[in-house]
């Protein structure tokens, strides 16, 4: 399995990767990107099985990234991991094509069930 983790915080990317290992995805190939623009380039260069993306990022936000993907006809599985997981964000994210929106802090169990259900 190939997973792209997109977050402007290196620390949060490390936490997501650690939680992925705890969730049983230790064998997954994990790529990283610093923002939506880098994420878009990464998806085009080497499509992952799923994108795990922050919402609030400089340069290109998570929702802009998701909309850019869908506008280009790229239907990769996509989930948000964000500190602003409100009902409004959940609605906007899923309407744009996200499979799930996980709030920070999050558990390995939550991440596992979200990815498996995507």
């Amino acid at each position: 399995m190939k997973i792209l983790v997109v977050d402007d915080s290196k620390a949060m990317r490390m936490i997501v990767k650690r939680t992925l290992r705890q969730a049983g995805f230790g064998d997954a190939e994990v790529q990283e990107a610093n923002n939506g623009a880098e994420g878009l380039d990464a998806v085009k260069a080497s499509p992952p099985d799923i994108v795990l993306c922050d919402w609030n990022m400089p340069e290109m936000s998570g929702i802009e990234f998701l909309k850019a993907l869908r506008a280009e006809g790229i239907d990769v599985k996509f989930g948000f991991i964000t500190s602003v997981a409100t009902p409004e964000i959940n609605e906007e994210g899923t309407a744009a094509g996200a499979s799930f929106v996980i709030g920070k802090p999050f558990s390995a169990d939550k991440l596992k069930s979200s990815i498996e259900g995507a």
Binding site: S9, K10, A11, M12, M14, I15, R18, N56, P58, T82, S83, V84, A85, T86, P87, E88, G103, K104, P105, S107
Partner: protein, 164 residues
């Protein structure tokens, strides 16, 4: 909406910040308690800290988590799952990044707490300042001293509205 309606006092924001910090400490650091050591009008002692702004239709607030260099490094390392020497070797940029993520997650919990009564609140991006942040005229601040694990920190709330 009438003037002042729905606005929250610095004390209300402080209570939410405390609740969010406890939740963060429990869920991401595995710590059960964040005992309160004291509380006052501020400013906090000068030191390094991460700050973030929450702005909505019914008010705004700036929140900070301030500690010492050693304390910031300790908390950042704990967040990253580091121990002992690993924490000592944590570089400045990585420490700032991880410490900023602490206030980001904590403020996200505060946003969720306030979201039902006002979903218009938006979270800014965290910043890291080594110094002292003071209230200006027509601003109210509250500093609460707590302990996160072995690390003493000051939680700062700064709001323009002196609503009680």
């Amino acid at each position: 909406m009438a003037a002042g309606e729905g606005k929250r006092s610095a004390r209300t924001w402080t209570d939410m910040l405390l609740q969010a910090t406890k939740s963060f400490s429990e869920e991401m650091l595995g710590l059960d308690e964040c005992p309160i050591q004291g509380s006052g009008p501020g400013p906090a002692e000068p030191g390094p800290g991460a700050y973030i702004t929450l702005v909505g239709d019914t008010g705004s607030v700036q929140m900070g988590i301030i500690s010492t260099q050693t304390g910031c490094k300790q908390l950042a390392g704990m967040l990253l799952g580091m121990e002992g020497d690993e924490i000592d070797e944590l570089g400045g940029a990585d420490m700032v990044d991880a410490y900023g993520e602490i206030i980001n997650v904590v403020a996200g919990i505060v946003k969720q707490l306030v979201n039902e009564s006002d979903p218009s609140f938006h979270l800014g991006l965290p910043i890291f300042i080594n110094g002292q942040v003071c209230a200006m005229e027509h601003q109210q601040s509250i500093v609460t001293d707590i302990q996160i694990g072995d690390v003493p920190v000051h939680l700062l709330v700064l709001t323009p509205d002196a609503v009680e």
